[in-house]
Amino acid sequence: MIEQTQALRIFESMLLIRRFEETVIDLWATVETEGHRHVYIGQEAVGATIMELLREDDLILTTHRNHGHVIARGADPGRALAEILGRADGFNKGRGGSAGLTVREAGFLATTGQVGGGIGLGIGAAQAQKVKGRGGICVTFFGDGGLEEGIGFEAMNIAALYELPVLLVCENNSVGVTTGRAQNEWSSSSMAAETLGDVPRALGIATEVVPGESVTAVYDAASRLIGDLREGRSPAFIEMRTRRWPGSRSFNPQLVTGVTDLAGIWEPGSVTGEHSDWINRYDPVIGYGRELMRQGLIDRDEIRAMDERISGRVQAAREFALSSPLPSAESGLTGTFA
């Protein structure tokens, strides 16, 4: 059961991710047009809820689609945005960029765009946690494509054999994807297994499948599995199924659903247009807002006030990032070795 304060924190975190990502897309359309970025729109419920369940000493591995994880973990949005823009004040001095953004102080061990690579690194973090013996765990986020690489199988086998405290969070955002590369869209997953969980299940790993746009479902499954991990029970795997956000594109995500209008929470009839079905059924921010209102945990004015506060933070982050200088070229020639 989610406590009221937790529920509100999760919702606020989701809204922060949404406003942050909308800003990322806007900046790329207007300021920085090169490079690639992988936004977290449509998956906010997963990152925000998992981070709510983690302790300070837990370790996290994430991927090229990391912005939501980093922000939800409490890292400063200004320095995160500066990193995404390749600025000197970014968390990684502009060396990592959007796909490599990582924050040591927040417990991120590494961010890797090598598909599936984090699954291998995560078992090492879990090994370190097990040796420490203080109940800390490792959470490894990866996409549905991550299981298509061989490293995932090897790492899951080792995690199961050594009973390592690792939560494997497979964010499957390919549900309902019918387009793919031909339409300049990300491709969909292509595993021969009927469900992705069949692979870890064959190795004896506890496995759950969860609708990833539902905070309640994510919370219930993740809190149970994380509790088991802290008590020393073998690795766990959750497939978080989310319906692909219609604006997702290779290299250039488009805000085809517009800047999120929160009126959709209290006035479902105001949601119109080509993508109204995605917004009404699969947008986690709109969906959870409606649920919290139904439960009487928040009202329209409080949501508006929250949004104003968050938008102010994101605006400040944007100004910070844009005012941060680009790194000097010679700064890139230092620090190859520790």
Partner: protein
């Protein structure tokens, strides 16, 4: 040689270094295939499991990428692992974790993260093990910024370099030529560190500098003996670590003799030997009396049959012939 210095094998010297560091640092552990109760296919982990147990000497499935991923993750999380990749031929299986993770995590994080690990692996040709258990692939990782490489030639250096590698805060690849495992030599008792990036003069000489590392140092020493009989005084310099490379000592040595041959147990084309040759040629150009020469393995896979296999190991005759050409 001091009278009371004991003689132990290169393999025993490496194990001694590991055991000493394991007693000193509880964050260390050893992981690999058949490294525990079996003590390694060459007995290269003898005694470690008996002393340190299952928790610190860990057997893995046949999963090089998986075990190396574990090693990198554990290193970033604050431990100090040694991972054994049985043959350097199997570096092919860990390349993504090595090149795209271990080597880059420190730099790309902007310096926030460290990756203190040792990758221990066997190189060298001999014993008819065939083309995929006989390769010397150190040139591959040497090309990747962020990785250090050590390759000892003597038992004492083996102990000192392994100690330095374990204490280093970067990924260090440690290459042992398996044909030198039983080579004996004096090894200091107690703590012994050979800093990475410090070359060593293995033999003094005035006419030509032979640069070699790992097993090739012994080929160079043999060639130096043969050259002495011909009235040519050869100096033998062992870089000991490939990255970082002690450019200063190497250039200085070559400048003093005016001639150099680089001997590399790996394939000659596009190899470490070529890189060292170019480095000393640039640095000592004004002092050279002849072009810097290379001796390395031919550009074909290592065949299995004994007479064919022998073709793949550079020998003293080839080195002597190169030197004689300089005087031709």
């Amino acid at each position: 040689m001091q009278q009371n210095e004991r003689q132990i094998s290169l393999k025993a010297a490496v194990i001694e270094a590991i055991a000493r560091e394991f007693r000193r640092d509880p964050e260390t552990f050893y992981i690999g295939e058949d490294v525990g109760v079996a003590e390694g296919i060459f007995k290269q982990t003898q005694g470690l499991h008996a002393e340190f147990g299952d928790r610190r000497v860990i057997d893995t499935p046949i999963s090089e990428a998986g075990m190396f991923g574990l090693t990198v993750g554990a290193a970033v999380a604050g431990m100090r692992p040694i991972v054994e990749i049985m043959f350097s031929d199997f570096l092919t299986l860990v390349m993504d974790q090595l090149v795209n993770h271990a080597a880059k995590i420190h730099y790309l994080s902007g310096g926030g993260f460290r990756v203190p690990l040792v990758l221990r692996t066997a190189i060298g040709v001999g014993g008819v093990l065939g083309s995929t258990h006989s390769q010397t692939l150190y040139a591959w990782p040497a090309h990747v910024p962020g990785l250090k490489l050590a390759a000892p030639s003597t038992p004492a250096d083996a102990k000192g370099l392994m100690t330095a590698a374990i204490r280093d805060d970067n990924p260090v690849l440690y290459f042992e030529d398996r044909m030198t495992y039983n080579l004996k030599g004096p090894v200091p008792e107690g703590e012994h560190i050979v800093e990475l990036g410090l070359a060593d003069i293995k033999r003094e000489g005035t006419d030509v500098t032979l640069i070699a590392f790992s097993r090739m140092v012994h080929v160079a020493l043999e060639a130096a003996e043969a050259l002495a009989e011909k009235g040519i005084s050869a100096q033998v310099v062992d870089p000991r670590s490939i990255v970082p490379l002690d450019t200063e000592t190497l250039v200085d040595a070559v400048a003093r003799t005016g001639r150099a041959v680089v001997i590399d147990g790996g394939h000659e084309l596009y190899g470490i030997g070529g890189e060292i040759a170019a480095t000393v040629a640039e640095g000592a150009f004004d002092y050279l009396d002849a072009p810097v020469m290379r001796v390395g393995a031919p550009h074909n896979p290592v065949p299995c049959s004994k007479p064919l296999e022998a073709l793949m190991v550079p020998n003293a005759d080839q080195v002597v012939a190169k030197v004689e050409r300089m005087y031709g």
